[in-house]
């Protein structure tokens, strides 16, 4: 029995996610897998992603993982990370590609001429440690309000249903960096690379039993 399946559709490196999960859940059976059957059987699913969303969608389909991911997102504790958040939505401006359409809304790019309050240029990708202003949810347990998490992305999600939003960050305008619905939680930042705050969120996910 697999406790946590980390969905591996061949886009980049999942070792960091795996290592961080092993750190917070040393006794659990964690499987980095491209097998839809294991994703279907696992108690929990982590859906990471990096690179470009069109490539991620293509590789997900090439491995026959689309249905397994959509089903898992609807029936068991499910954590999307980075592109794994963006792919849950209907459409991305990155490559003008359709997402999995699990959540209503779209994915757009940061403007290229952003400046902070002091007039300094804000680079894209948004890379580094930024504040996360979060709502009430058990996955934020023991995480300080406005704690910093590590981000690296050029696109961000715009949920059409405001009730989905579980956290925002700013660059320089507020943008949604975490969403939740029922058994599903997804974040734009990288908890596996966010030191103690990130490990705490992963631990909360591992212990999460949504009703």
């Amino acid at each position: 029995m697999v406790d946590i399946a980390v969905v591996d559709y061949g886009m980049g490196n999942l070792r960091s996610v795996e290592q961080a999960l092993r750190k917070v859940a040393p006794d659990l059976n964690i499987s980095v897998t491209a097998d839809p059957a294991i994703v279907a059987q696992a108690a929990r699913v982590v859906f990471p992603g990096q690179g470009a969303m069109p490539d991620c969608m293509r590789e997900l389909d090439a491995r026959g993982l689309r249905e397994a991911v959509i089903t898992a997102a609807g029936n068991k504790p499910f954590l999307g990370i980075c592109i794994g958040l963006q792919m849950l939505f209907e459409h991305s401006a990155e490559g003008d590609v359709a997402g999995l359409r699990i959540l209503p809304g779209d994915v757009v790019r940061f403007a290229s001429d952003l400046h902070d309050a002091q007039g300094s240029k804000l680079k894209v990708p948004h890379m580094g440690w930024n504040h996360v202003h979060h709502a009430e949810h058990v996955l934020w347990n023991d995480i300080a309000q406005d704690a910093r998490f590590y981000f690296v992305h050029s696109y961000y999600v715009r949920p059409r249903d405001k009730a989905l939003t579980q956290a925002t960050s700013d660059y320089p305008q507020p943008f949604v960096c975490a969403v939740a619905r029922d058994n599903l939680f997804a974040v734009q930042f990288h908890p596996e690379k966010s030191a103690n705050a990130g490990l705490t969120l992963l631990k909360n996910f591992v212990n999460w039993n949504p009703v």
């Binding site: 980049g12 490196n13 070792r15 960091s16 290592q19 690179g51 894209v124 890379m127 580094g128 690296v152």
Partner: protein
């Protein structure tokens, strides 16, 4: 608000962290895994490992070091040195690196940057540039650990690397490296103003004011330093507190 990053850099050879002056005169600074853990505990925002091993015989050592660090330290890890082909990028990522830094090989084969970024994403491709001033306001790219001139203009080269898919530029002033007199601020400013992607300033940090100047005057998105941390002059925490006092946004 996004924090400016402080990145301790660990130059590694034969399984040890070393530090030289202007790319020569190496001095032992200790065990890389132990040092990585210490900087993580002090609040480092990322760690950069540069494998400066000359002989290909010892190339395996860096993989074991990164594997050990990645099991214990949960902040971004960048690894560079000797990356020649996409397979090298893959191997380092598999060992636990989050980003791979490409220097000489980007000049020899710019397509490597494009191929690696297309395969693994721009977010994990850092192009390292060793720069030497050749005229006022003009810098040239050097390779092979600073030994070989390329004739390439640094700003033009950095712009090309951004276009090919680099996610970040690690910019080292060879004139300043090891001198402890501060970053080449004009170089840093020239490159960061020309680019959309983040720039890490490197080379020359001797005190905490130098780190702050890299951000406030150089416009760097991140600052990298080695010896001021290795030899116990300052902790990362002290550096961050100093920068915060100067009004710089940092992760405390």
């Amino acid at each position: 608000m996004l924090a400016k990053r402080i990145i301790p850099c660990l130059d590694v050879t034969a399984g040890r962290v070393v530090k030289g002056v202007s790319f020569v005169e190496l001095r032992d600074a200790g065990d890389p895994v132990e040092i990585a853990r210490r900087y993580d505990a002090q609040g480092a925002d990322e760690l950069t490992f540069l494998d400066i091993t000359a002989s290909s015989d010892d190339r395996g050592i860096i993989f074991r070091i990164i594997e050990q660090v990645a099991e214990q330290v949960f902040i971004p890890l960048t690894v560079g040195g000797g990356v020649r082909e996409v397979q090298d990028v893959r191997n380092l990522l598999n060992a636990g690196a989050d980003k791979v830094s490409i220097n000489t090989s980007a000049v020899v084969n710019p397509q490597l940057v494009a191929d690696a970024a297309a395969r693994y994403g721009s977010q994990c491709i850092v192009v390292a540039i060793d720069a030497k001033q050749v005229a006022p306001g003009k810098w040239e790219v050097f390779t092979h650990g600073g030994r070989k001139a390329t004739g390439l203009d640094v700003v033009a080269w950095a712009t090309k690397m951004q276009r090919l898919g680099a996610g970040e530029i690690l910019l080292t002033s060879m004139d300043k490296d090891g001198q402890k007199s501060g970053f080449d601020l004009a170089l840093t400013r020239a490159v960061t103003d020309a680019l959309e992607i983040p720039v890490i300033a490197s080379g020359g940090v001797g005190n905490l004011q130098h780190l702050a100047d890299g951000v406030t005057q150089g416009g760097a998105d991140a600052v990298l330093a080695a010896s001021i941390f290795h030899f116990g002059e300052y902790t990362v925490q002290q550096a961050k507190q100093f920068m915060a006092q100067q009004g710089i946004e940092v992760r405390l």
